[in-house]
Symmetry: C2
Subunit: 337 residues, 2 copies
Amino acid sequence: MLDDRRLAVLRAIIEDYVSTGEPVGSRGLVERHHLSVSPATIRNDMAVLEEAGLITQPHTSAGRVPTDAGYRLFVDQLATVKPLSAAERRAIQTLLDGPLDLDQIVSRAVRALAQLTHQVAVIQYPSLRMTRVRHIELVELAPARCLLVMITDAGRVEQRFIELPVPLGAETAAVLRSRLNEATAGPSLEDAFEDLDGLWLGFSEEVRPAVRAVVERLKEIPKAGYQERFVLAGTSNLARSSADFSSFMPVLEAIEEQVVLLKLLTELSADSGQIAVRIGHETTQAGLEETSLVAAGYGPGRTVANLGVLGPTRMDYPGSIAVVRAIALYLSRILAA
Amino acid sequence: MLDDRRLAVLRAIIEDYVSTGEPVGSRGLVERHHLSVSPATIRNDMAVLEEAGLITQPHTSAGRVPTDAGYRLFVDQLATVKPLSAAERRAIQTLLDGPLDLDQIVSRAVRALAQLTHQVAVIQYPSLRMTRVRHIELVELAPARCLLVMITDAGRVEQRFIELPVPLGAETAAVLRSRLNEATAGPSLEDAFEDLDGLWLGFSEEVRPAVRAVVERLKEIPKAGYQERFVLAGTSNLARSSADFSSFMPVLEAIEEQVVLLKLLTELSADSGQIAVRIGHETTQAGLEETSLVAAGYGPGRTVANLGVLGPTRMDYPGSIAVVRAIALYLSRILAA
DNA sequence: AATTGGCACTTCGACTGGTCGAGTGCCAAC
DNA sequence: GTTGGCACTCGACCAGTCGAAGTGCCAATT
């Protein structure tokens, strides 16, 4: 049914359509790709591919356009790995140089991702749920005000101001600090925070309200959806790629919505190192029916967050996949250091 | 030359054009605004206004459209203050509630700004150059690694990891911490950092390299342009407002570029509380010829950063100005607390 | 059985010409 | 200074035409 030549035709159609953006006809196909058969034969093959739901024609007498199913088959079975160019390698390499602050690394990486794929790039900050506490610090700013600083093993730093009901005092602060560090040295941040409830018992009556305030504030850090952070880049690529106006309006809205973005990225349960691809309608999000997502997990050893690119279904999948994989790999390597 | 009625005509033209988006003709003008003269009279007035360069017509037989100069005159002399609606007041009021972390405040404020103006909103984080150091903290994470945390009086927290050439030791760290806090208690952050050069002299031979590493890292914080941070919201409003495609492509690019955004916001030397308006060509940035900026400074007492909205020249200036002023005011009030 | 050339058919897009409506500019009259 | 009238201009809309691109089908060929 779908023999080699027909698959080759599908691949050729996708390649041409991705690069030109216009429906591709039988004549042009045999000319550009040196298929050693006539256009008529290709037409027969196309009819079969259309029957199988892999391609479609916008109207009776136009060329063929791949369907979501066509892209899916292409990505799963037909796409060959596209090695990165020297320039691309170099661009990513430069990410390694320089300082090791998470903010800078992530913001550089997301820019590189956008530039190399010409798509909208998004990187999720290492999720607090997935990471471990490396250190907790309590800084006294004023008698009744302090700053809580939490550092995770993925290099992410969260800080919160705390208004204290009663002053804490230098000594108590020191004790509390070490207690917190002991208690949160557990395997996962969520589990560790379970054990904090009884902690205030070990303190004298007067300072207990302050201790409880600190603990409460600490415990709410991983709670809210607010804690998931993203960085975006390449939004202007949207305008370049999508042809008409209304098509990227919803995309623009979607990427502004933290919630949508989070759902999109976490929905795909990709193993670390694996690339997940969502094509068009496969994404359940409304408004993104003509949008694809190429994403991967990253992290030091294990997956702590996701990154990816968002673009039109008509996208260079092999290229995007290669870049996403490379960036995820480099990012993981840096975080593991 | 430009008597009262003619100015009223200009105002009417701008109001109509802003709300409909279409060139406005003489007949409709007398109908919608109860001008007690005939269309022919209006036409004469229009000819005068056009002569003065305040309005123009896209083609011979279309209505009139305001020019940049027309908007400018409108904003400077004609615009009446538009009081905020109850709903708008309420929306901004809710900003006051809740926690006092700068990140949350700013991200809420920028969202409110975008929502209330239906424009692209941008808020600059309190510039490090403008603020004072409130506290510096040094956290030892590993023998040769520590975290430097700097808190400014605008509530902004900056942190940097530091790789130490030699271990610092708990005692030295404590001394260094207090020395740093003493030395940076000066009036402005830039001046304060001048005095850090000799600081390593007060330490023993062995730890001096570590001290210098810390000081170097601290001194580079306010240096790089990197330290200027922005948050954006309402990017999707661009698609709604600007009619055609190529017109907002450059805007999208501009707001992605930190540099452009920074230049745009800092170029206007607005006093705190004052509103600065840049209309169309007045902005020197390429690609933003059809874009206006309404901005204001904010800060606790003095201006420490700017915020504003970016939209098409065809914008509701009185409304935008009112909202921008209100948000700047509230933000300043919160920071001063 | 697969492939091929030929041919009729469909559809889109570009072009054309004609009409309509909105709006202007000008002028003479008030 | 204001007004009504009128000719003029220009874009928007509509319908019709035509060519290009591409298909589907069929009979002939390998």
